[in-house]
Amino acid sequence: MSDLTEQFADRIRAASGPLCIRGSGSKDFYGNAPRGEVLEAGGHRGIVGYEPTELVITARCGTPLAEIKSALAERRQMLAFEPPSFGDAATIGGVVAAGLSGPRRATAGSVRDFVLGVKLLDGEGRLLTFGGQVMKNVAGYDVSRLIAGSLGTLGLISEVSIKVLPLPMAEATLRFELPQDKALDLMNRWAGQPLPVSATCWADDSLTLRLSGAGTAVESASSALGGERVADAAAAHFWTSLREQRHAFFAADGDAAALWRLSVPSIAGALDLPGATLVEWGGAQRWIRGGSSDAPRAAALRVGGHATLFRGGDKSAGVFQPLDPVTQRIHRDLKRSFDPRGILNAGRMYPDL
């Protein structure tokens, strides 16, 4: 595979207006509408280095997520933040830029927790390296983690190094019939105990919980917690459908209907909002389907969280929670420091970034 970094750099330097950085386009739906000339980054691909015993994989931005996952699986390792792909062609650059994590997030950590280093083309087309391939690194500001979730507004991620973890030795999925408030309470209590919980999901008065770890630990937790054991194949299907939002909850109204993602303190009680709710991350992530108002935004703010209009709905008021004035000023100055001409994925996160 050819190294397209120089080509990207030329393109950025020559740009006279906004550029829209695009991997496979699997997350075009996410954030404010993409605008500007498309810069296809998907062609810059390939795993550059993978050291299973160092727990690090380094790949070019256009490398398909599926390719990375299968390379890791061969050595019984994984991306512990369990990123959604939202399409077969999703690229690792897009995974990091979007900063979305899957079911394991509450216990394993998020994309940014696992990013160790990036090669970044900034808004002037300069290739900058931050972080590296080692687990502990405090030389300079931690720009590589800042890049995770910045939606391409600070630079084009040309290459990224990510910490990987071994696949759990064993897993078990349990199901409990419970109303939401009871489920929220239990998820929080269990999270405070040394149990190998790796994912939780509550929807339709049903709490599903996944245990991952050493075989003996999974078995003893499984018998201590009770509930109904879900067969392995059905469990794998369930967690994948949840991660990829193919679960019936998400499919119900079609892509045009509003789907809100609320990130809230896990102990916040059931939110009084119209529309169906699905709870993940031990209570810290709540999906609200339907409704056209921005009531979810106010509800999230009331409990100390924030809301994102994740899919569909009316994006004219912006997709992400507005920032306070001081934070907004810092955001604008950071954007200007990496992309002085304001051309990279302009407006994708906030109108002035």
Binding site: V138, G192, Q193, A214, G215, I267
Partner: protein, 488 residues
């Protein structure tokens, strides 16, 4: 030796600022006399000393804000300080600058057992958080060796690690939210009690920023359930390389130990004499591998690790048979720095991180460099994550030895960069390693760091001269070898 960092402040400005500060805090909280300033002239990096213009012991948020505003208005640098245990000179004062001590901010504001969070002031000691959380079966996971003294504000500034961070993460993985005062006195909340926030991940930038972006006023931390049991295997090797390979073999077997530490012979010798941890003094290296979790899980993992270690050529294995014995094995590791301190008048502690596969090469080179510089060196290694602490022994009273020690240290850091690692894994750049930043980063990357800082502190008043060198600084630093910073 580096030049001391000093700001050019005229007498009128100095006097105006001091009289303003006197109006902000009570007389007892404003130190200006030489004998009062002396204890603040350095942090844990005692080789560098600088007396500041004044030390302010702020007692509440409004005082911090007022002090920052006054300094900002007068263009006087501010260095925030916790317990002063840092090892890289991050809290070394700036001449003619103000040291803002957060030592009085020592309240644990809230422990929420259901949410598994602790809300604390920056001057709270690391270990005090775990002690306060213990009745709920919870603890704060990052455990730097200085945890009985170091404060959470300093941990945030340095992104501190510890011996358990391979499994439980660094400070950056365990902080949910920070309340921060900027240099102009504005207060900003970064992160949230939820798992993420809208916008950029400013938390990641603030943690490890060495006090150069803002002053932490309050931190909300993630607490972790205390594992039911923990057990440690101590393995002896007659060859350092074999020990290094054993670490890779453990990871390849799909095990992430709770702790994975290595010490070479000079380190175990120093330690054994001091704490009598029962280390095998004939071994070229010993490895400590810990497992924690449920009793079943630990039994399974310890058995698996023993099998791997045996296969990797360990010549002796000892598994801790009681909590007391486990703590004894660890006591030696945790006391490694003071133990070395006992056998040498002075030592410098290096902090590079390397890809583990280069361990053999790096240790061989360190031994060669030791010969070349005529100094002894003991190696303590966070083997799981590649973070290497060579302890260079010297005597500052012998003319020329400190220069030889710093020269030796610089070469080790450059070696770490050469093999694809970094000059600092957890101690920070501070004043100590600022020159080696020119080796690790290009001119453009350093410019990006300065631009990032300007988004928080446009006038460059918070902890100036630390962590990120200026391009001019780098061009004055004569680079050794073919470093990438040679473009400067």
């Amino acid at each position: 030796m580096h030049d001391q960092i000093s700001a050019a402040i005229d007498a009128a400005t100095r006097n105006a600022l001091l009289s303003e500060l006197a109006g902000i805090v009570p007389a007892a909280a404003l130190l200006t006399a030489d004998e009062d300033l002396k204890p603040y002239e350095c942090d844990g990096l005692t080789a560098y000393r600088q007396v500041p213009l004044a030390v302010v012991l702020a007692a509440d948020e409004s005082q911090v804000v007022a002090v920052l505003r006054a300094c900002h208005r007068h263009g006087v640098p501010v260095v925030a300080r916790g317990a002063g245990t840092g090892l890289s000179g991050g809290a070394t004062p700036v001449g003619n600058g103000v040291v803002l001590s957060l030592a009085k901010f020592m309240r644990i504001l809230e422990i929420d057992p259901l949410a598994r969070t602790a809300r604390v002031q920056p001057g709270v000691r690391n270990i005090a958080i775990s002690e306060a959380a213990a009745p709920h079966g919870l603890y704060y996971a990052p455990d730097p060796s200085s945890q009985i003294a170091c404060t959470i504000g300093g941990n945030v500034a340095e992104n501190s690690g510890g011996v358990h961070c391979l499994k439980y993460g660094l400070t950056v993985h365990n902080v949910l939210k920070l309340r921060v005062a900027l240099i102009d006195g504005d207060i900003v909340e970064i992160g949230s009690a939820a798992l993420d926030s809208a916008g950029y991940d400013l938390l990641a930038v603030m943690i490890g920023s060495e006090g150069m972006l803002g002053v932490v006023l309050e931190a909300t931390l993630k607490l972790t359930p205390k594992p039911q049991v923990a057990q440690v295997v101590m393995a002896s090797f007659d060859d350092v390389i074999k020990a290094g390979n054993a670490v890779a073999d453990i990871i390849a077997a799909g095990i992430i130990p709770a702790g994975l530490e290595m010490m070479d012979k000079p380190a175990t010798a120093a330690v054994e004499d001091f704490v009598h941890a029962g280390y095998d003094l004939t071994a070229a290296a010993i490895l400590l591998a810990e497992s924690d979790g449920t009793p079943e899980e630990v039994a399974e993992e310890i058995a698996a690790m023993c099998a791997v270690l045996e296969k990797s050529g360990a010549r002796d294995l000892r598994v801790s048979q009681s909590e007391a014995e486990r703590l004894k094995f660890w006591a030696g590791r945790k006391a490694a720095f003071p133990a070395v301190g006992r056998i040498t008048p002075d030592y410098l502690c290096m902090d590079g991180t390397i890809p583990r596969k280069h361990l053999a090469h790096v240790l061989t080179r360190i031994a060669e460099l030791g010969e070349e510089f005529g100094l002894r060196c003991a190696n303590v290694f966070h083997a799981g994550d590649g973070n290497l602490h060579p302890l260079i022994m010297f005597d500052a009273n012998v003319p020329g030895e400190i220069d030889r020690a710093t020269g030796f240290g610089a070469r080790i850091l450059e070696l770490s960069v050469d093999v694809g690692g970094t000059i600092t894994g957890e101690h920070g750049v501070g004043i100590e390693k600022v020159q080696q930043m020119c080796v690790q980063f290009s001119r453009e990357e350093l410019e990006a760091f300065h631009a990032l800082k300007a988004a928080f502190d446009p006038r460059g008043l918070l902890n100036p001269g630390k962590a990120v060198p200026t391009p001019r600084h780098c061009s004055e630093y004569r680079l050794i070898g073919s470093a990438k910073g040679a473009t400067t």
